[in-house]
Point group: C2
Chain length 599, copies 2
């Protein structure tokens, strides 16, 4: 891969492009376009922007991603969670829909694009690893609930604000008297219809004799059908005069060329929001891309993904759009529909461009309630509350991070939610590694293996204490190890040797090195020799660069290759089950019920 192809992966597929591939790409593009038209309008509305901005964000960004990204099938464009985060960030600057608000959305796309490109160039993609699955899952579920709740006002035809779930529900409750009946009828009918289409239409069509592929295409067109039927109903029955809110006039034509404003104050107040939505967008996008790539044994290069998403957001910023990323639902549809290269994305862009040029007058009477129904049905499929009990069973720490993320998203907001989740998962990890699992081990009779004395019947020595630490040793846990070793030697007057078994120690940092020095000194003062065993290569390399090993040797200590070798050298009788005085070696009494478990 030469330098150009490293950053322009599209060269690879473009060179080998075949006519047969074009047919597959074109079919996929038509299906995705049909799906994207209502979604792009709806997600712009969710972001607090005029609906047509959703169309603008679905043209050039798709082409930009296709040129720089590595996923063959990722469908880039407006996405629910990113739209919500855009709204959260922009609402700090201005009132939704105002010119300054639209400008803020543009700047968010621009900053997000710059950050993603910078992450690509500086190879900072690893930062996204700090968003754990549990935090992401909790964040997406809670965002889905929040989004669905925020759209209820459109379904009910009332004006109600609120950025948190309690606020939204309170505001809605206060508006019960103001409900607009025609809107409610259209909204609930559209929601019910879309749920039915999603769940039941495809199996029904297959049973009616249609091919599964055709059935799929028709089912995917469900939202478009809802759009057409509801638009016609409103237009013919003059329902907008009855208080049904409609999309209204949409400017017809090419997306405008826009230059995001360079206002230092605006930038600095949007910087945090842009960083968060870049990270979340990247994580969401790359998980979809990798899942789909794995199915066809293709490879995704994280740096190119960052570059592709960065280019897409910059493209959005310069063509009157708002932040975009790779979306789950549309990408899966694109993949299932047979898309083979990013040309499918380019063709989708062409479809949206034609829509923006020619079809926008048709959306005039489209009721906002139907867009809201589209959003609600899409986001509720992202909500995975079953993850809560599943994660609770597996890991309390992951549960805490997930539940806290959800609560803060619902109760305070999306940005504090993701920050809380990341901070909490990091703190919990550090807290856990700061209290390492330390086990006293003994020899499994007639083997060379050592196991926890509390879990196995093993031979132990009175003069040699074998202690295994199951964690890398670093500043956060160095003192805990010291305390544990001092506590263990306190009750063992016959003790002559302590062997610290290090098969799970992947790192000894400078703080832990000082603790080991302190342990060695203190044991020496107490007439006990300190040894190490099973030290890993990289850790041993590091120890050689300090003078710890000299001090260890000076006090009679060794680094043994294996714990068996250590015990055989220091108390040979134990390895055949004998004490030094010829009696049988002590056998540890494991806790009942534990002995069958692994060490």
């Amino acid at each position: 891969m030469n330098g150009l192809e490293k950053w322009l992966p599209s060269i690879t597929w473009a060179r080998q492009y075949k006519a047969a591939t074009f047919g597959n790409d074109a079919v996929a593009a038509i299906i995705v376009t049909i799906m994207l038209i209502p979604q792009s309008l709806a997600y712009a509305m969710l972001a607090g922007l005029p609906p047509y901005i959703g169309l603008y964000a679905s043209i050039l960004p798709l082409i930009a991603y296709g040129i720089f990204g590595t996923s063959r099938t990722l469908a880039v464009g407006p996405v629910a969670v990113i739209s919500l985060m855009t709204a959260a960030a922009a609402a700090k600057i201005a009132a939704p829909g105002s010119p300054l608000y639209i400008e803020a959305a543009l700047v968010l796309a621009f900053l997000s694009g710059l950050m993603l490109v910078a992450m690509a160039v500086l190879r900072l993609g690893f930062l996204s690893n700090f968003l754990s699955h549990s935090v992401i899952s909790g964040f997406i579920s809670a965002s889905g609930i929040l989004i669905a709740a925020s759209q209820l006002k459109h379904i009910l035809g009332v004006k109600a604000g609120g950025d948190t779930l309690p606020d939204i529900l309170t505001a809605l409750a206060g508006q019960v008297g103001a409900i607009n009946l025609p809107t409610v009828m259209i909204g609930t009918a559209a929601t019910a219809f879309l749920f039915w289409v999603r769940k039941s239409l495809k199996p029904l069509l297959v049973r009616a004799g249609l091919g599964p592929r055709m059935a799929d295409v028709i089912a995917k067109a469900g939202p478009v059908a809802a759009v057409i039927i509801s638009t016609l109903s409103v237009a013919l029955l003059d329902l907008d005069a009855e208080g049904v809110k409609i999309v209204g006039a949409i400017p017809q034509g090419l997306p405008p060329l826009t230059i995001p404003s360079f206002d230092a104050e605006l930038w600095s107040s949007l910087l945090g929001g842009a960083a968060l939505l870049s990270l979340v967008g990247f994580v969401e996008s790359i998980s979809v891309a990798q899942t789909l790539a794995a199915k066809r044994r293709q490879r995704i290069a994280p740096d190119n993904e960052l570059m592709g998403l960065g280019a897409a957001n910059l493209a959005a910023a310069f063509t009157g759009g708002f932040p975009v990323t790779g979306g789950f639902a549309r990408s899966v549809v694109n993949f299932d529909a047979g898309a083979e290269t990013p040309l499918a994305g380019a063709l989708t862009a062409l479809g949206i461009l034609l829509t923006a040029l020619l079809l926008t007058p048709l959306f005039h009477f489209l009721p906002q309630a139907v867009l809201a129904a589209t959003i609600i049905v899409a986001v509720l499929s992202l909500v995975d509350l079953a993850a809560l009990p599943r994660v609770w069973r597996y890991s309390r720490h992951d549960f805490i991070a997930m539940a806290a993320t959800m609560l803060v998203v619902l109760g305070i907001g999306v940005e504090p939610g993701i920050v809380t989740g990341v901070a909490l998962s990091l703190l919990l990890f550090l807290w856990r590694t700061s209290r390492p699992h330390v086990a006293i081990v003994g020899l499994v009779p007639e083997t060379e293996h050592f196991r926890n004395v509390d879990r196995h019947r093993v031979w132990v020595s009175d003069t040699v204490l074998s202690i295994r630490v199951d964690e890398s040793l670093y500043f956060a846990n160095a003192r805990a190890l010291e305390d544990r070793i001092y506590a263990e030697i306190a009750g063992r007057p016959a003790l002559r040797h302590v062997v610290l078994m290090c098969p799970a120690v992947n790192l000894i940092d400078a703080s832990a090195l000082e603790s080991l020095e302190a342990i060695q000194h203190r044991l020496h003062d107490a007439g006990v020799v300190f040894h190490l065993s099973e030290v890993k290569g990289p850790v041993m390399d590091a120890l050689r660069r300090s003078d710890f090993l000299d001090h260890l040797q000076a006090s009679g200590g060794h680094v043994f290759l294996s714990q068996f070798e250590a015990v055989r050298t220091l108390d040979p009788a134990v390895v055949v089950g004998l004490r030094a005085d010829g009696t049988r070696a002590a056998v540890s009494e494991p806790c009942i019920g534990l002995e069958t478990k692994a060490a």
Copy 2:
């Protein structure tokens, strides 16, 4: 230990108190009092406070610590680094020496006391583990340099400000013309004298025939001698009229009863500073306490230390003082002088009380330059620049954290310095664990041990890939493991089994569990069976709570107790050095020079 004694450890030693002990405690108290009088005045000046406040902070806090703390010999009181941090925090509120500034110092002591008590009750002492040795060492060294530089103006007799090293040096350079000659003479003479006392007086006295204990007492009285001689010189020669700055009038009498003001705005602007100085003070104090306790095989309870330091700071807040902690130099002196119980601290408090009641007029002509000399000599002994190359050799990450802490302390300030150090050391740890060491391993011929193929000559199988991961698996590194395994299987068409060897895996969190599921799925799709081996007990317990093991078994995978068992089961020929077709098993070619190292 009953409930009362849990929080009042002084009951234990008070019950057994003997007359002989009193003699030792009293001697130690006299020596520490002599040392503390000039230090308390000097550190108050360093904190930007009137010198007498140092005396107030050296009375009740010592008694409070003695009641609640567990160290028998810790000498609590004003300390250089904490005084510097007090100045940094209070200077944000008001001009040094102003009534509001003095109030801010009082509130800092109060908040710090509350926080330490809260940490004791909530068992949050582990938080201090996140200050790594490297960060603390860098912080103390840089603070020492900064403090010494900040005192130069008193030695030179000029007015010069500055909170950072460049600012201080620039300000001093601009004042070269304004140097006061008598002040410089007193200041440099005092500094030289104190350095000489510290380095050379005790050996000289011993050689002159004095007992080492007596020589020590006389050497410790050096600063008092400097105080007496310089005060007499100024008083007799009327040097204050020549521009030598003196301490001036000190109110005589008991410390006042003070109530820290409850001003929400003041509190919130001091909260961060109080938190940082509580943590630093606790870390500094507990390291001294543990070092000294270890020498006499006494135990330090971190929760009681928090309570003791909290009580000391609350006592300081209610008696006109400023933040205090356990100091290194005075505690060592107390220990060496033979102190056996905290009664020595109480007697020291009595000494300072008598000083405040009776002796303060004697300090009227004490030159500030001598106090500055006391500070400079004390803090320069804390500076350990040799740690930089030592840590560089051992660990680049520790070096980065240390150097960054020092640079930020010197160039920006103490609070940003400690925050940078902690954040950087945590990020570096996470970054390191996010790129785990993963090794392909093979069987050491004629043993049951597996070692890295790159470091040892080992037998490997064509059909079984043994891969060892040397890190706990969690969200930050789960994806890296996935990538590595996919990359490894790509080039091995004959592969049938992958065994992930987990002796160093101390944790598998929910994110890593999903990655293992993904690996298992993807290998299954590629016709390769995924196995685990040497899974630790606690990790296995967690896996049993998920359905991962069911999925593993359904695809033919096992969890083997040892890697040897795994390979013996999956490719029996390899364990005797044969391939399946009867030819010799492949032997890995380790890199030259690496084979003698540990695995």
